[in-house]
Symmetry: C2
């Protein structure tokens, strides 16, 4: 269905990062968003990789965030890291561009979150949390508005997806036995499993449950990752479960994260919108 | 968390309908949306009920859609019926106001949908589908962008929630035995169970699966309704299950539908947005 506005103003997208997610996004950018969006520039820490991506996808490499902002993006998408969110998001929002925060784990920092919300409010730009590897943020927002909600998230990964996390304190995970490796709150989850918390932080923010209960399980033989969110309030109960299969071309399981940003950008310019 | 823009432009909301959902919405409108939105007017078929609601919630009663559009709404929310969508949505969109379509079942009509999308594209207004009694439209949009998706929805209701549907052809449902009362496509579901298809149509549209498989089950003793959406593409599998408990003050199970509209309006004006 051709729902995109072909005749409106073309919005300019700036990109931060040139890793796997940025690449999936850029490979499908034209096919999904052409007519409504164009690329304004790309910044990433590695100049070699950044110049190569800029050349391949027909955009400009920017040495730093100031140079990216000079390309006048309407929206900047961060596909880099929590550090990039901490370093750049406020500048982007203050400059009046929307900031799509893929490394949403960074927003667990209440101080950073308050600064970004304040910068967004001041300029009228938006700080945008995409559903990423998850889904159902619409339902979480509805439950948060209704009030009285509680929520939990359980993440199951193969042992190798968790190996080396500080929360394991050097402990090796069994190659045979399923085990619970973490059970606690979001803040402790971030400290112990910093590479596995984007979904937990997105859930805590969208559902407005600061005391979100987080369980992380190791399951030998698990193909990809599985996230289960349970959400309850006096009027409803919901369960959202997502299994990401490994992509044949890209064994990272978070390929849907890149697609969630393509979907959200498409939705913003479409004459029919969903929430 | 006070995320609403208190200092921006106040948007004007027009309402169509004054039944249970409109009432839940209006009762919580000020508390959730004050500072960012105000009411411009309300239209509904029953003049008595409409005038009473207008008086109670401090807005203007409008005899017809032209009078509602004279109140210069930025957004019109339809809480009435598929007939109201067919009668008014195009006028609202042509006038440049966004149209929030709660009776999304009406959009199963491809001709109507095309007219509304065309009206929206012409004026720049948006036709908005709220998640309503469902959730996970964000995930459905992501799967649709990725491609290769298939989807199904199973709805379980107590027999009294299904009684009298044309698809039952006069058959009485068992008060003791669970039974499948419908299994088929969206179009047949609309004809057979016109009061139970909003969620199926929302799923078909958001996931872009015209061949959505729909199952409707009758379950004696079921408290409220339960909807289960299954969504699959080559890279992921997802399941979204929502049970709506009956509200003590309002035995209709769709109270979350009114809240989903409050949540979507809040999100549109918030400095932090979710998709």
């Amino acid at each position: 269905m051709a729902w995109m506005n072909g005749d409106g103003v073309v919005k300019r997208i700036g990109i931060i990062g040139c890793g796997a997610l940025a690449t999936v996004f850029l490979e499908h950018f034209r096919e999904v968003l052409a007519g409504a969006y164009c690329l304004s520039g790309i910044h990433c820490r590695s100049e070699d990789k950044g110049r190569s991506a800029a050349g391949r996808f027909g955009t400009r490499f920017c040495r730093d965030i100031a140079e990216l902002l000079e390309t006048a993006p309407d929206i900047v998408v961060e596909f880099a890291s929590g550090e990039a969110v901490r370093a750049y998001a406020e500048d982007v929002l203050r400059a009046g561009a929307d900031f799509v925060c893929v490394s949403v784990g960074a927003l667990a920092d209440a101080g950073l979150r308050a600064s970004l919300i304040s910068a967004a409010r001041a300029s009228g730009a938006k700080l945008i949390v995409p559903c990423g590897a998850l889904g159902g943020l619409d339902l979480m927002r509805t439950a948060a508005a209704m009030g009285g909600q509680s929520a939990s998230i359980e993440t199951v990964k193969a042992p190798k997806g968790l190996a080396g996390a500080p929360g394991l304190q050097g402990r090796a995970l069994s190659g045979e036995k399923a085990e619970v490796v973490f059970e606690g709150g979001v803040q402790a989850a971030i400290e112990g499993f910093p590479k596995n918390v984007n979904v937990a932080v997105a859930t805590a923010l969208a559902s407005e449950t600061a005391d979100l209960s987080v369980i992380i399980r190791s399951e030998p033989g698990a193909k990809g990752n599985c996230h289960t969110v349970r959400l309850e309030n006096p009027a409803m109960q919901a369960e959202i479960r997502i299994r990401s299969k490994p992509d044949p071309d890209n064994p990272r399981s978070s390929i849907s994260t890149a697609w969630s940003v393509l979907a959200l950008l498409k939705d913003r310019e479409s004459p029919i919108q969903f929430f």
